[in-house]
Amino acid sequence: MTESPQLAPSPLDPASRDALAELLLSVADDEFVIGFWDSEWTGIAPMLEEDVATSSIAQDEIGHAKALYEMLADLTGNDADAIAYGRDADAFRHAALLNHARGDWAFSAARRYLYETADAVRLEALARSSDPSLAALAGKMRREETYHMLHADAWLRRLSDGDGEGRDRFSAALVSLWADAQEVFAPLAAEEELVRSGLLTEPMRAMHAAWQTQVRPILEPICGELPRHTPSLDGRTRRTDDFRWLHAEFTSVHRSEAGAQW
């Protein structure tokens, strides 16, 4: 159940509304899925203190997803929980970076770093969106994400310092995740409309370029030269067995009793 009252669909024209819906869904699904994978560390992180920190970050992501689903629900006359829990796996629109299970600590840390840096670029643009609610929400999210970025950066440094196992694992994880990381900037179907209306202040490929410029100097000293990739057309539609497993798990109780309250 959403907390905000059901509003009539927004007064935006239908093309803009559909474009905004697609944008919101992509960001919401990213936050939702990464929140799921990282919340799996609750109880089993390397140290108790770190366990609590990682869980907070994962919960923040779910909180962001919830706010985004609620905004989407208001826009389309729907219900946030129905959007989150009522779709099939193939209807999810998260970036391929989030298709992977959490892996070991280095894998999660590497994915977290890649996601946080990309998300920061995206959020900075969304905070200037022509839609005031979206701009405000993005601004709020950025304030929480500052802490996420500090934490992701702290772990990048700790794992990549020295020549030991930490560096090897982290480096290998970066290399294996690199191609899928580009997909945070996968082109959206309605991108032209989004840019035209100012909902998105610049196209995804411009954000992608900015992100590359920012992260290569930090990552390449750790894992060597990273290949050039452009985001793919199916960057937000291709799924994996890992995600299908996740989807089956997280919908299991919700689906056990159609329409029930929980």
């Binding site: 140290m47 203190e49 920190a53």
Partner: protein, 101 residues
């Protein structure tokens, strides 16, 4: 892993005193601050935190220094009990005023 302990002090609201809240293990200063935030403000319950390595704290708990045995009541409000004297003075003043009628 060689952990050290950091003590955490928190302030509930702007202007309140810093109060000792607990402690965290961490490998270094930077993560100690992250963890202090988690344990003492993840619910938004603190306005400010001080995160201090345990070895930076000097403890004094000698009762001879803190609560020495000789009378120090002249240093505290409770050392000036005027109830009886005030009562006596009021009675005298009232009586004098009555005599003067």
């Amino acid at each position: 892993m060689t952990d050290r302990v950091w003590e955490v002090f928190r302030q509930e609201d702007d202007g309140d005193p810093m109060i000792h809240a607990g402690n965290v293990n961490a490998p270094d200063d930077e993560l100690a601050v992250h963890y202090a935030r988690e344990f003492y403000s993840r619910r938004g319950e603190s306005h400010r935190l001080w995160v201090v390595p345990r070895e930076a704290i000097t403890e004094l708990d000698d009762p001879d220094l803190l609560r020495p045995p000789f009378d120090r009541t002249h240093k505290k409000p409770g050392g000036y009990v005027i109830k009886h004297k005030l009562e006596a003075a009021r009675q005298r003043a009232t009586a004098e005023a009555g005599e003067g009628d």
